[in-house]
Symmetry: C2
Subunit: 174 residues, 2 copies
DNA sequence: AAAGATTGAGCTTTCAATCTTG
DNA sequence: CAAGATTGAAAGCTCAATCTTT
């Protein structure tokens, strides 16, 4: 029993290619299972690691941090909510709640989006920018420690290629 | 402005290698940033995609599914909570709450762990097994659709190697 | 009616505190 | 006291329903 994340259809006493399925799906073979357990472990544990560090230093998780970071990089430090939702990989509802929380901290404000008729934009406040500047160095250091310290430049390119392959299928549907 | 996840230290008007930091961290270069945005997008969106499918079919998220899957693969379909926490990449507290919920559904039961003195184990019930068997095919199909349909056998091996490199640094500390 | 956005309820997760047993 | 486990409160997330403006 390897110390592992859970399988999509676990073997052994449980579910899987035991011959009983009349017209089952194609189960994962050994190599696929190993890759899947690894990937699943990563997507479960990496957010937790990021959140631990950010919560300790800034009191927010990595999704909220992403909101601040995206805003800081935008012209006028202002982004329409629709676009911000896409950029941070979250639903509009989740983003709306997140903006509530960030507004309560005084780090973000809601403003009418210019140009677009009835859209709302989020703007990074001075306090929000100051917080981001305070927290960013520690966060970058953590990202280096967790990921880039372990990868060669070739592997970094390879990682980019992987995420390009996988992300389209995974992108949110709402 | 690429449609992207948030940067660890965003560029432009915000935070980053602008020359103002006296003794800042090593910021991410362009290649690292691209890889990071991709990886971050993946770890944000893949769990959401898994959860959507599983919630629609089973009313649970992928972490709860993992609990059932790990149990189903274990001898006696029984695993001590400590081990189960490691296997599913969750904290003991989170697991305890999760077991509460799965117990309420009748899919899991708590039992004393045999051998170990004061440990508790989770056991998969018949109903839990039946649920897993009902749900697993759809889940495997989704995992194929999201991931393995897009990867060659070589890429699957490469993915395994990647997760081996990255997971140790990321593994939970609490 | 439809797009953009918000809301509220219910569930999940986190963190710190607590309980329990050896 | 320490390991194993649970608890409760606060915060976050999801889903469906709702509000608002065009």
């Amino acid at each position: 029993m390897p110390s592992s994340q859970a399988a999509p259809g676990a073997r052994g006493a449980g579910v899987g290619p035991g011959g009983a399925e009349p017209e089952g799906p194609r189960w994962l073979d050994a190599a696929e299972m190993e890759a899947w357990l690894g990937l699943l472990g990563l997507v479960v544990e990496l957010p937790q690691a990021l959140d631990r560090q950010l919560r300790a230093e800034a009191g927010i998780g990595h999704v909220y941090y992403s909101v601040l970071a995206v805003l800081s990089a935008a012209p006028q430090r202002r982004v329409a909510l629709q676009q911000l939702a896409v950029d941070t990989g979250t639903s509009l509802s989740r983003l709306s709640h997140a903006i509530d929380a960030l507004e309560a901290k005084g780090w973000v404000a809601r403003r009418p989006a210019e140009g677009k008729r009835r859209q709302v934009a989020a703007v990074l406040t001075q306090e929000g920018l100051a917080t981001l500047q305070r927290v960013a160095p520690g966060h970058v250091a953590e990202v280096r420690r967790l990921v880039f310290d372990r990868l060669s430049p070739d592997e970094v390119r390879l990682l980019t290629a992987f995420t390009r392959k996988l992300r389209p299928s995974v992108a949110s549907a709402g």
